[in-house]
C-alpha cells in the first residue's frame, strides 16, 4: 500500500489549512449544543484530467454516507445544487458562495481530482459559506483504489473542524452474516458500507470477529474443524493462523491494546473461563477460575483491566478484573441479565446489553458502576455493541426490522442510523481502530 500520498497530504495540508487563530474561534461556535441538522452541501469533485467515471460523485457520496451516521448534519439534496462542478471554482477566491447560501448551505465541501493512469490526486476543501472562507483543505495522492480511504479521511477531517475531535470513518467494520446463504461467514467493510469483502468461505459457523490494534488482523471463532477454535486471519492476503484449539470453546478472542496478548474464553469440563494467551496461544494468565460462566472479555484502553460477563451472582452481570490479578468487581446493578460488554476507547464507560421486558437493549455504564444510561428501547433485540475508534459512536446489531441488521448510534442513543441492508442476518460487528 502506497504511503507516499500520506506524506504529501500531510505536508500540503499544513499549507492549505485555515490559520490557527481563526480556527480556534471557529471550533465550538460552528456547532451549538445538541446540533442535529447542520446543513452541508457536498459538491462532486471537479475533473481536471478527464476520465475517472463516477469518481467525482462517489467521493461526495461516501462522505455523505459517513456524515449521515453522525447525527449532526443535514445533507442538502444534490438536485438542488445550482452550479456544475466542472464549470466552477473550488477555492475561496473562485467560489460563488451565493449559489450555496441561497440553497441553505452553511458548510460546503468542494474540490477537484486528477487521474493519470492509476494515480489519483484529490484536492478538497471545506468552507464556511456564511463567512465565505476556507476551514480546512487536504490533498490526497494514491492509487485509484484508495478513493474510499481518501473520502473517509476527509469525512474525519470535517468532524475535526466541527466538533474538535477526529471522526471515526477511516476504519473498518467486521461482522458475521448469513447474507450469502445459511452459513455465518465473516465480512468486513468500510463504515460507509462500501468495499464489502467476504473474509471466510467455510460453509460452517463463524462468529465473534475482532480486530488487532493495527487493524491488519482479524480474530474469529470457527467450527470448520468441528471444535470451535480461535483463528487469526490477515486482512491483506488472507493468511491464517490457528491461535487456540483447546477442546471445547475458544471464543470471543480480543487483542490487548498493545497487540501482544489475546484475551479469550476457554472451556474446561463444561465451564467457561477467561484467560489471556500470547499470540501463539500459549497461556499467560487466567483471569477467572470458578464454577460460574465467565465470557466475553473486553480490555480497558490502558490494557490493565478486563471487563467480562459472569453469572457468579446468579444471572449474568458485567464485572471488571485487573489483568494482574485481584478480585473481580461488579459494575452492573440494574436488571437481571446484562451481557456483551465493550470498553469505550475513551476509557470511562462500558457499553453492554441488558434484557428488559423481554427485549434486549443497549446501555452504557461508568467504569465504577455508576450512571447507567439506556440507548435503545422498544425496538426489538439490540445486541453486540462495538465502539468506534473515537469513542463517540457504537455499531450494534438490531432486529427491529425483522432480520438482524447493523446500526450506528451515538453514545447518547439519540441518533440511530441503519448501516446494513439486504438479506440475511448481520451480527457481531467489530469496529476497528483508525487505519493509521
Amino acid at each position: 500500500m502506497k504511503r507516499s500520498w500520506l506524506v504529501v497530504g500531510a505536508l500540503l495540508g499544513i499549507f492549505m489549512r485555515a490559520p490557527e487563530t481563526s480556527r480556534a474561534q471557529v471550533k465550538g461556535t460552528i456547532f451549538g449544543p445538541g446540533e442535529r441538522s447542520y446543513p452541508i452541501a457536498l459538491s462532486p469533485l471537479k475533473s481536471l484530467s478527464g476520465g475517472g467515471g463516477d469518481l467525482a460523485t462517489q467521493f461526495a457520496d461516501i462522505i455523505g454516507r459517513d456524515l449521515s451516521l453522525t447525527g449532526y448534519f443535514k445533507l442538502l439534496d444534490r438536485a438542488a445544487y445550482i452550479e456544475k462542478p466542472d464549470a466552477s471554482g473550488y477555492t475561496a477566491e473562485t467560489i460563488n458562495f451565493d449559489n450555496w447560501s441561497v440553497i441553505g448551505a452553511l458548510a460546503l465541501m468542494k474540490g477537484a481530482y486528477t487521474l493519470e493512469g492509476d494515480n489519483l490526486t484529490i484536492e478538497v476543501r471545506l468552507f464556511d459559506v456564511y463567512q465565505r472562507r476556507q476551514l480546512a483543505g487536504r490533498r490526497y495522492h494514491g492509487s485509484a483504489s484508495e478513493l474510499r480511504r481518501m473520502a473517509n479521511k476527509f469525512a474525519d477531517e470535517i468532524m475535526t473542524q466541527f466538533t474538535g475531535e477526529r471522526g471515526p470513518f477511516d476504519s473498518r467494520i467486521a461482522f458475521a452474516s448469513t447474507r450469502d446463504g445459511r452459513f455465518k461467514e465473516i465480512y468486513a467493510m468500510s463504515p460507509d458500507s462500501g468495499d464489502l469483502q467476504q473474509l471466510t468461505k467455510t460453509s460452517t459457523i463463524n462468529i465473534s470477529p475482532s480486530w488487532s490494534p493495527d487493524s491488519r488482523v482479524l480474530l474469529y471463532t470457527s467450527y470448520k474443524t468441528r471444535n470451535p477454535n480461535l483463528y487469526a486471519i490477515d486482512f491483506f492476503g488472507g493468511r491464517e493462523t490457528r491461535i487456540s484449539d483447546r477442546p471445547g470453546l475458544n471464543l470471543g478472542g480480543k487483542f490487548s491494546p498493545d497487540g501482544t496478548k489475546i484475551a479469550l474464553t476457554v472451556e474446561e469440563n463444561g465451564n467457561a473461563d477467561i484467560v489471556v494467551v500470547d499470540r501463539s496461544g500459549g497461556l499467560v494468565r487466567r483471569i477467572t477460575d470458578n464454577w460460574s460462566i465467565d465470557v466475553s472479555p473486553t480490555w480497558s484502553p490502558d490494557g490493565r483491566q478486563i471487563a467480562f460477563t459472569s453469572n457468579r451472582a446468579g444471572g449474568p452481570q458485567i464485572y471488571v478484573a485487573g489483568v494482574d490479578g485481584g478480585e473481580a468487581r461488579r459494575v452492573t446493578f440494574t436488571g437481571t441479565y446484562n451481557t456483551s460488554p465493550a470498553w469505550s476507547p475513551k476509557g470511562d464507560r462500558i457499553a453492554y446489553v441488558s434484557r428488559l421486558d423481554g427485549g434486549f437493549n443497549l446501555f452504557t455504564v461508568k467504569v465504577d458502576g455508576g450512571d447507567p444510561h439506556q440507548l435503545t428501547q422498544g425496538t426489538g433485540d439490540n445486541e453486540d455493541p462495538s465502539w468506534a475508534p473515537d469513542g463517540r459512536y457504537l455499531v450494534f446489531s438490531s432486529s427491529r426490522g425483522g432480520h438482524s441488521k447493523l446500526f450506528v448510534t451515538d453514545a447518547s442513543g439519540s441518533s440511530q442510523v441503519q448501516l446494513t441492508h439486504g438479506g440475511g442476518d448481520d451480527t457481531s460487528p467489530a469496529w476497528s481502530r483508525w487505519l493509521d
Binding site: 465473534s208 470451535p228 471445547g248 471464543l251 470471543g252 463444561g270 460462566i293 465470557v295 460477563t309 456483551s340
Partner: protein, 173 residues
C-alpha cells in the same frame, strides 16, 4: 472423516425415508431385540446438528437418545430431565460400545457468546448425570452450539422451550 460423513448421509437418508413409518416406534426400546434390526433405533442417528446443517438437512430429534430440556438461563436438571437421562443412560448401558456426543443448545434470546457458554454447561450437566448413573465418561463427549443451530425459529415460548436442550448424537460406526 469422509467415510463417516458418507455413512451419516446414508443413514440420514434412510431415516428420512423410513421416518414416516417409524415415528410411532419412538418409545420402543430395542435392547436385546432379536436379529438385525433395521429400524432407526438399533442404529445411531449418526449425524450431529452441525453436520446436518452443512448438508442442508433439517435438524431432528430422532435417535435412540432423547433431548433433555432446560429452563431459561439455566442448566439445572428438573425431574423430567432426570427421567429422560435415566432412559438414555439405560440405553447406553445396554449398548456398551456405543458412544454419544452431547450437544448443548439455547434459545435465540441472549447474546451469542453467553449462550455458547450456557450450552456448554447444559451438555456437561447431562454428561455428569449419565456418568453418575454408571456410563463410562470416556464414551461421552460434549460440544456447545449455543443459539447457532436451533430446532425451530418461531419467536415464542413453545419454540424457545424446544431449543433449550441437550441433544444426543450416537454416531453410526
Amino acid at each position: 472423516m469422509r467415510k463417516r460423513l458418507l455413512g451419516a448421509m446414508t443413514l440420514a437418508l434412510l431415516i428420512v425415508v423410513a421416518g414416516v413409518g417409524c415415528s410411532s416406534k419412538k418409545k420402543a426400546t430395542t435392547s436385546g431385540a432379536a436379529g438385525g434390526g433395521v429400524g432407526d433405533e438399533a442404529l445411531g442417528s449418526g449425524a450431529g446438528s452441525l453436520e446436518k446443517y452443512k448438508q442442508g438437512l433439517p435438524p431432528g430429534e430422532e435417535g435412540p437418545l432423547k433431548d433433555v430440556h432446560f429452563a431459561f438461563d439455566s442448566y439445572d436438571l428438573d425431574e423430567e430431565s432426570r427421567g429422560v437421562l435415566r432412559d438414555n443412560g439405560n440405553w447406553l448401558k445396554d449398548h456398551s460400545t456405543a458412544k454419544a456426543e452431547i450437544e448443548g443448545h439455547c434459545d435465540e434470546r441472549g447474546t451469542v457468546e453467553y449462550n455458547l457458554a450456557l450450552g456448554a454447561k447444559r451438555a456437561r450437566a447431562a454428561k455428569d448425570y449419565l456418568v453418575a448413573l454408571g456410563v463410562e465418561a470416556g464414551r461421552l463427549t460434549t460440544i456447545s452450539y449455543g443459539e447457532e443451530l436451533p430446532l425451530c425459529h418461531e419467536h415464542d415460548e413453545s419454540c424457545w422451550q424446544r431449543n433449550r436442550r441437550a441433544h444426543f448424537v450416537v454416531p453410526s460406526e
